[in-house]
């Protein structure tokens, strides 16, 4: 089993009866999802994506990645939200949070267009100086402010450095298959384009071209990644909460929410998991945080943050539960060295694997936090392989969608994201927003 949900450390807080009571809701929500009878049902393309994807485009992604690897020292990925988090999560989970310092034979990868920081942009432009680079701009419409600004800069830099013809070979565009100004412009300019599927929202798009091109450039085997997701798709097609760990996870989340928990903390024990936690936060927060409802998603990396938020989780206000990501099979064989000085008194551990010490820290923390009144769900992932990660991505996507329907929201829209954009455009004096402009300015 690639993922096993361990509910041992939730049991002191949730009874068997509570699980049984919510099971019909979970199963009904899953049915709604599968049959497309719920809200947002036109955005369920991710559900079958691991099997039902465009093979020809997939081959083009691999070819483009090979070309980028061959011709570039640096690869700039331009996108925000779901056009950013998935790729970065996978690159770091399978590589490292220090990917750019440690990579061998693949380009440095930087993410731009995911903020409005001038200094951040200037840093990335300076990193490209004297280096060969390609860009991948990812935007369904082409008009989202953050990536649009970055695209203006990097396209100009490419054209200055390589000429219009040279730049054409170095610009890869992931956008709508037919509509939008970016698609039209790209076709006219002769850029290679990939598709943001119509029925896959940003936070569910990591296994489409949106995530796959940058992931492939980092050297990850995208067949394996899709294979893992396809495995999950099959396993999670099982009916009955007792046979389906995604159902169980959705059930536990909703039960704890109804009992008053308002924060869910995703817990990792390895620094390479940090951006995966960020991906998960978007997935959960954007899918469920609406209509005045939802669990607030947060994350920590232990043992680092046991010396930061650990105190709060152990003894603060009892408003949270933890979902702990445990990678069962270690990827490092580093051992605790013997030290004749034994300054730290740790010689009783000499020769023990660090991964075993880390696992023991996890077990000790599970027990401590349960004793402190914090329910702990443990997601046991087999290993740190590409295939297992593909599995886990699908697991969380699927569980999220089921959970959202149980919560009674449309898990596939994000109307709240428009609010700041509208205000920003009005305050910037965008044509068409004149009336709002004055109203808002008066409130500042």
């Amino acid at each position: 089993m690639v993922i096993r949900l361990d509910d041992k450390f939730v049991k002191p807080f949730i009874s068997e009866e509570e699980i049984n009571a919510i099971a019909p809701e979970i199963e009904a929500a899953a049915k709604t999802l599968r049959e497309g009878t719920g809200k947002g049902s036109d955005m369920r393309g991710w559900l079958n994506l691991p099997e039902n994807y465009d093979r020809a485009e997939f081959a083009r992604i691999k070819a483009a990645a090979a070309k980028i690897k061959k011709t570039s020292d640096v690869f700039i990925v331009i996108g925000i939200g779901g056009s950013y988090l998935g790729a970065r999560a996978v690159v770091e989970f399978l590589g490292s949070s220090r990917y750019n310092q440690l990579r061998r034979g693949t380009p440095e990868i930087y993410f731009s267009g995911c903020n409005i920081s001038g200094s951040d942009l200037e840093e990335l432009l300076s990193i490209c100086e004297g280096k060969d680079f390609c860009i991948n701009v990812i935007s369904k419409s082409g008009t989202t402010t953050e990536p649009a600004v970055a695209f203006r800069y990097f396209r100009a830099l490419l054209e200055k450095k390589y000429g219009t013809d040279g730049a054409r070979e170095r610009i890869f565009v992931t956008t709508d298959k037919a509509r939008g100004t970016l698609k039209q412009f790209s076709d006219e300019a002769g850029y290679e384009t990939f598709v943001v599927p119509d029925d896959v929202g940003g936070r569910f798009s990591v296994l489409s071209a949106v995530g796959l091109l940058p992931i492939a450039v980092s050297g990850v085997d995208i067949d394996e990644l899709m294979g893992g997701a396809a495995d999950a798709m099959r396993v999670l097609s099982a009916e009955g909460i007792e046979n389906n760990d995604a159902y169980k996870y959705a059930a536990i989340r909703n039960i704890l929410y109804r009992k008053g928990k308002c924060v869910e903390i995703l817990v990792g024990y390895e620094p390479y998991q940090q951006m995966f936690c960020e991906w998960w936060k978007q997935l959960m927060g954007e899918s469920e945080g609406k209509d005045g409802k939802g669990l607030y998603p947060s994350s920590v990396i232990f043992s680092t943050d046991l010396h930061s938020l650990g105190q709060y989780i152990q003894s603060g206000k009892r408003t949270m539960f933890e979902t702990v990501l445990s990678v069962e099979n270690p990827d490092s064989n580093a051992e605790l060295p013997y030290d004749s000085a034994n300054i730290d008194g740790l010689n009783f551990l000499a020769g023990m694997k660090m991964s075993d010490v880390n696992k023991t820290a996890m077990n000790g923390t599970l027990l401590a936090h349960v004793d402190g009144g914090v329910p702990n769900v443990v997601i046991r992932l087999a290993d740190r392989s590409t295939r297992s990660l593909g599995y886990m991505i699908y697991f969380f996507e699927f569980a999220c969608a089921v959970s959202g329907y149980v919560l009674g929201v449309n898990p596939f829209d994000q109307p709240g994201v428009e609010a700041y954009k509208k205000n920003m455009f009005a305050l910037l004096g965008k044509p068409g927003y004149e009336e709002m402009t004055e109203q808002l300015r008066a409130r500042l």
Copy 2:
């Protein structure tokens, strides 16, 4: 004014009467803090640190930093919690979250000993290969597991590479001034040592040798940093809530907490602020998260996370408020370029500074989130200078201590951090824990 607290976007949620009602509590808490009559009063060394620090040690820190810069390509800082977050926050705030790729004339700086990850350790060991490096181990006792393990590895590597005599010149130890095995061993081995003050807890220690040595190695002017903190110390000595923005911040936090808010989100608008947010999370969470109380500290970087947690903050469960960090004077002059193609329709902004667009995104978001029912406190910081950062560090430390006393906790202890450690040692079979060991193992 280096920091001005702007409460305009809190006013729809808190009345003048509520501020007036809590003011005596705030002023009493500040008095308790200043006079040392409250819990944990022996841990108030940070309160006068900006003026009352060891000048001779300060000079030694600068000399050591100069020596490290001269002899090292890489500097490994070994510490966890407060022995890690403060230095990293300052290095990144003033440099960049990409400091290691962008630094000029200073060593690469990596933080080790802040987790139990074998793969993380192996990465850092590989980064040191073929490079000259120094280490700074920071641990009051010398027995904290995470830094102790890293110290074993890096000390062995240094001794292998440079011999015992060579290694001696490359090991810098920040520890207790007299007690503890690390101090004793360091003196015997002839390592240069710096002091973790007895009366300054980890999360308040960034302006002691704990933070200052790594910060100085990164090229930051530590006189300016201390100077900024000393400025804050003077400004925040003002009595009366109407004259003291730290009092105001403590008041607003406690009022909102009592009205049912359980999450405080620190909001930045620049990627370089991310680790500062992490420092703040430890400061607030560890100081207040006890006795079943406290605000859960979280953080986001906008506009990045407007496309992630933004939906939740706009429309999810109304359990949070935001504290927005606004750097008033921009540090980048990058402008939005004109693009004849105007694919994105943004030419109406051509020639506008990105910092102004970013500020407008902030204003638009403030209004949107207030309309969504989220109180927003704005901390207006003059600029991104070293001096202003020193000011802000002291501002938050001081406000945190006052706030903690108003909450009715000891803001200077962290008893909950011991729980996982005890369990871990018991599960690891550490001598002396035998009885606990069996009990805990039976629960796994």
